[in-house]
Subunit: 203 residues, 2 copies
């Protein structure tokens, strides 16, 4: 599909892996930015009935909530806004596990986006192979101040990473830093850090 929609030249320092303030105020690089309709029918919340109006949270199912909470709180610095055990009947209905009990922590980024960690305490399944080439897996990405600092903190605390931090050579994070950390359940946690500002590159 890349290239199937009209493309525009863009400064090298701009790409797409970011919130996009508006359709017209950004150039997008790394792959082709598709104008309205170019990728086929594209209903939005404004022209379909009942659609998405806001992000709720990203949820990660974990084996040991205390262990995962320590990781997201102490290694990444997310703020804990909630912790509790829930066994409401409606949770059993929507999750599909009769009598389920969930130990849940909710954390938030400084910008207010929520990350929910859930331990199924009484219906324990089998850990999945979280390698990202396996369909059905997920990852979560955070922008951080210092990728290398967090990477070293994670390793010092006994956690893993897919590789040492690298310097992206394309896209929005060109000249910055990026890494895939590995959380206690194997879930990949992508960190990204801005490179030098466009101005300092003469852009």
């Amino acid at each position: 599909m890349a290239g199937s929609c009209s493309s525009r030249r863009r400064p090298d320092w701009v790409s797409s892996w970011s919130k996009i303030p508006s359709l017209s105020s950004w150039w997008h690089g790394g792959s082709t930015r598709c104008p309205s309709g170019a990728t086929g029918p594209r209903p939005t919340a404004s022209d379909m009935v009942g659609g998405v109006i806001d992000f709720g949270h990203v949820g990660l199912q974990v084996r040991d909530l205390d262990r995962s909470l320590a990781y997201y709180r102490d290694v990444l610095g997310l703020r804990v806004v909630e912790r509790g055990v829930r066994s409401d009947r409606y949770l059993a209905d929507i999750t599909g596990y009769p009598g389920v009990e969930l130990d849940i922590a909710v954390l938030e980024t400084p910008t207010g986006v929520l990350v929910e960690l859930l331990e199924y305490t009484n219906v324990v399944g089998e850990p999945v192979d979280t390698a990202t080439h396996n369909p059905g897996t997920g990852h979560v990405c955070f922008q951080v101040e210092d990728v290398d600092a967090i990477y070293h903190s994670a390793l010092d605390a006994g956690h893993g990473a897919v590789s040492p931090p690298v310097t992206p050579t394309s896209g929005r994070w060109t000249g910055g830093r990026s890494v895939y950390l590995i959380d206690p359940d194997g879930i990949r946690v992508e960190l990204v850090q801005r490179g030098p500002s466009p101005d300092s590159l003469g852009g």
Copy 2:
């Protein structure tokens, strides 16, 4: 940990599964809201070096990007802001797959939060069992205008759900609607919808 920090009485209609404007402006229910320090050491981006400053995106690794893109665009109504094939060397480094080629779509909610769908085109793994009691799995939650409408649209389009929509009996979404849909790779997509306003309940 639930109940280990001080609790306050709260109106029944208020809970925690939401963005929280400030520590003091919300009552949280369903489980116990923990004040600063009550859950142990809790560094934040402001008092640790290099921590999270913003949410980047939630990423879902999928088997067939066209199939998944249709789901998130046409069933849920997310807006496509990017589509392209990438094989930059640094992506091989951070993902850990030499020579990897990724077909990627980026969608956004009306509030600008990004969802990245990734198909590993030349290093295909094994689909994981996405049942949420399996540690290492994830889910993603969106607030929608009409849970039942989206649920029926999803079923009409041949997709699945864990159960029909239910009415939460606790938490922020009390009296509203909620459901776990199942995306084309089995990933659970939680939808939530507000209930009647507190005023209309006499709260």
